[in-house]
């Protein structure tokens, strides 16, 4: 069956990509290493959206969980003095998981535009709270120290993005992407196709469609939170506008469409393309960078409706 084969192929692909990225570290200029790491962080949020898209759902509010992850890590650092990136990641994932579990009881009964906008509403509520909370720096946010890993503290002179942080992000992302790939090939992933295609039939197969949506929602939230943790660790600063604001949520949906939902690698490739286009557009056409991004998306929708990943499918189709 093609599906099993594709899981194995993806596992191989993830392993190769991980090894290559780690081996490239000494050769990568700082900006490139930063772009890779930031793309992995953002790509995790988009990977969560990919799960929801497989369920036929779109959330315009993933910024909510991105912010929860980022703030949980930053708060753990600021108020508890925690510097370990692993502990910060767990804090981010656990907080987002708990919030998604509770909100899931509200959103799991909704589909389509209502699901999308409910999430937008939640994220804007959080944005409002964060922007008004003086102790969290209001709209200015606050800073996060240089993270450590299992007692290993990087050289403070080496800058923020050390090999430890880079390696941690690359390996964690690889493990998580592998896990999501397994999940999508398992009964819960297929149940998602059932939710998308025909919920009535799914119910008559004895499956709780709402329960399945709830699980997917929590999974997507945890991914967004981990992406938030990584982003905050890389940037060293967290603000409401860069995490919970609706334009950030919109950006993730943009990247999800850019990449397509064909494979767990698509979100990361699309996020990297997005970061590169934005960086170069900002540099060479500072007044027109939104327009360039818009044109990129337009071209993808017109010529690659399955997203960038469908390019890979087309190439393979020709080879086979």
């Amino acid at each position: 069956m093609t599906l099993l084969r594709s899981v194995r192929l993806t596992t191989v692909g993830i392993t190769v990509a991980t090894v290559v990225l780690l081996a490239l570290w000494p050769l990568l200029p700082a900006w490139a290493a930063h772009t890779v790491a930031v793309s992995l962080g953002g790509g995790l949020v988009v990977l969560g959206l990919l799960i929801l898209i497989r369920f036929g759902l779109v959330s315009f509010g993933q910024g909510l969980f991105f912010a929860i992850g980022g703030y949980a890590a930053a708060l753990a650092n600021q108020f508890l003095g925690i510097t370990d990136m692993l502990v910060m990641s767990v804090a981010g994932i656990a907080s987002a998981g708990a919030v998604a579990w509770a909100l899931g009881y509200i959103v799991r009964g909704h589909r389509g535009i209502f699901f999308a906008m409910l999430n937008l509403a939640f994220s804007m509520i959080l944005f409002g709270i964060l922007a008004k909370t003086v102790v969290l720096g209001s709209t200015d946010g606050f800073s996060v120290g240089v993270p450590t890993l299992l007692g290993f503290a990087p050289d403070p002179e080496a800058g923020r993005l050390t090999f430890v942080l880079f390696g941690f992000i690359v390996i964690s992302t690889a493990v998580v992407a592998w896990w999501v790939d397994r999940m999508l090939a398992s009964p819960i992933g297929y149940a998602g196709q059932g939710v998308r295609e025909n919920e009535l039939r799914l119910r008559y197969l004895g499956v709780s469609a709402r329960g399945a949506v709830h699980i997917a929602y929590i999974a997507a939230a945890k991914l967004a939170a981990l992406g938030g943790v990584f982003t905050v660790l890389l940037i060293g600063h967290v603000t409401p506008e860069d995490t919970a604001y609706w334009t950030k949520s919109g950006e993730f949906v943009f990247v999800a469409i850019l990449g397509g939902s064909g494979n767990v690698a698509a979100p990361f490739i699309a996020q990297a393309v997005f970061e590169l286009v934005r960086t170069f557009a900002l540099q060479y056409a500072p007044d027109a960078w939104q327009m360039l991004l818009g044109i990129t998306l337009l071209l993808v929708i017109l010529f690659l409706p399955g997203g960038l990943w469908s390019l890979a499918d087309r190439l393979r189709g020709r080879d086979a």
Binding site: V7, P187, I188, G194, E197, N198, L205, G211
Partner: protein, 256 residues
């Protein structure tokens, strides 16, 4: 004495002023093939919907294997062993026939499906393949459902409903939308396959030829009530049933 599988006691359901079911007492014995007939709006589909947990009756009780299942959810009825097919097939239109069955077999009965094992495993594949063969739809395996002819969709819908080997299956108009030429083929296939699975069958049908040929017993509904209940020969010849359900045959003048 065979087991009484399904029993309804004084079932009642109203939609505003419309009486969809009133004092419905039906008892189905294991192994029976029961045809349910009635004009449009007579309460056949409401009966199916109540028995499968899609609708909650206003009055009365539903017993399945002696256990009260009144007001249970669709999922609970499915788990108890009552499945159904649909007048308009309820399938996963973007997937192929084979993928539909893989999905159905792989997720069946998981209230919250697990994620720690791949769905596509040899035993799931074998079962999906066996089901396709049993219902003679294997040659359409790789065809997307939205490109299938109606007859194959109907078969697949019933095959999907039979995943998990229910003790009882309700077929809602299994031959509707199928050409006269195909209907006996389709129904013959279905009844063959269902007999092999030893399922008790209750089928709603408008086509009296089909009812007469396949049912062991016929229940006629009218305005939410049971009008007649008995062998096909008795029920289909009952003057009240002819008057309200079957209609007069050509050659039988109204006053004859």
């Amino acid at each position: 004495m065979p087991e009484v599988l399904l029993e309804t006691r004084s079932l009642g359901k109203r939609f505003g002023a419309v009486i969809a079911a009133e004092d419905v007492n039906v008892s189905v014995t294991a192994g029976e093939i029961v045809g349910v007939i009635g004009a449009n709006g007579a309460g056949k589909t409401t009966f199916c919907n109540m028995v499968t947990g899609y609708l909650t009756p206003d009055l009365g009780q539903i017993l399945f294997r002696g256990k009260d299942i009144t007001g249970c959810t669709v999922g609970e009825a499915t788990e108890a062993g009552i499945h159904r097919s649909f007048q308009i097939p309820q399938l996963f239109p973007g997937l192929t026939v084979y993928e539909n069955l893989l999905l159905a077999v792989g997720v069946f009965g998981h209230r919250r499906p697990p994620w720690w094992q791949p769905l596509v495993r040899p035993e799931v594949e074998n079962e999906a393949t066996a089901i396709m063969e049993r219902y003679r739809i294997a040659e359409s395996a790789a065809t997307r459902v939205d490109r299938l002819p109606q007859g194959v969709r109907k078969l697949l819908d019933i095959a999907m409903a039979m995943v998990g080997q229910p003790a009882m299956i309700l077929l809602d108009e299994p031959t509707s939308g199928i050409s006269t030429k195909e209907k006996f083929d389709v129904m013959g296939n279905v009844i063959d396959a269902l007999r092999k699975s030893a399922a008790t069958v209750l089928f709603v049908e408008h086509d009296m030829e089909v009812v007469g040929r396949y049912a062991d017993r016929v229940i006629a509904f009218r305005e939410g009530r049971v009008l007649a209940d008995g062998t096909p020969r008795v029920v289909l010849e009952d003057p009240a049933v002819i008057e309200h359900v079957v209609g007069r045959r050509p050659g039988h003048p109204p006053d004859a």
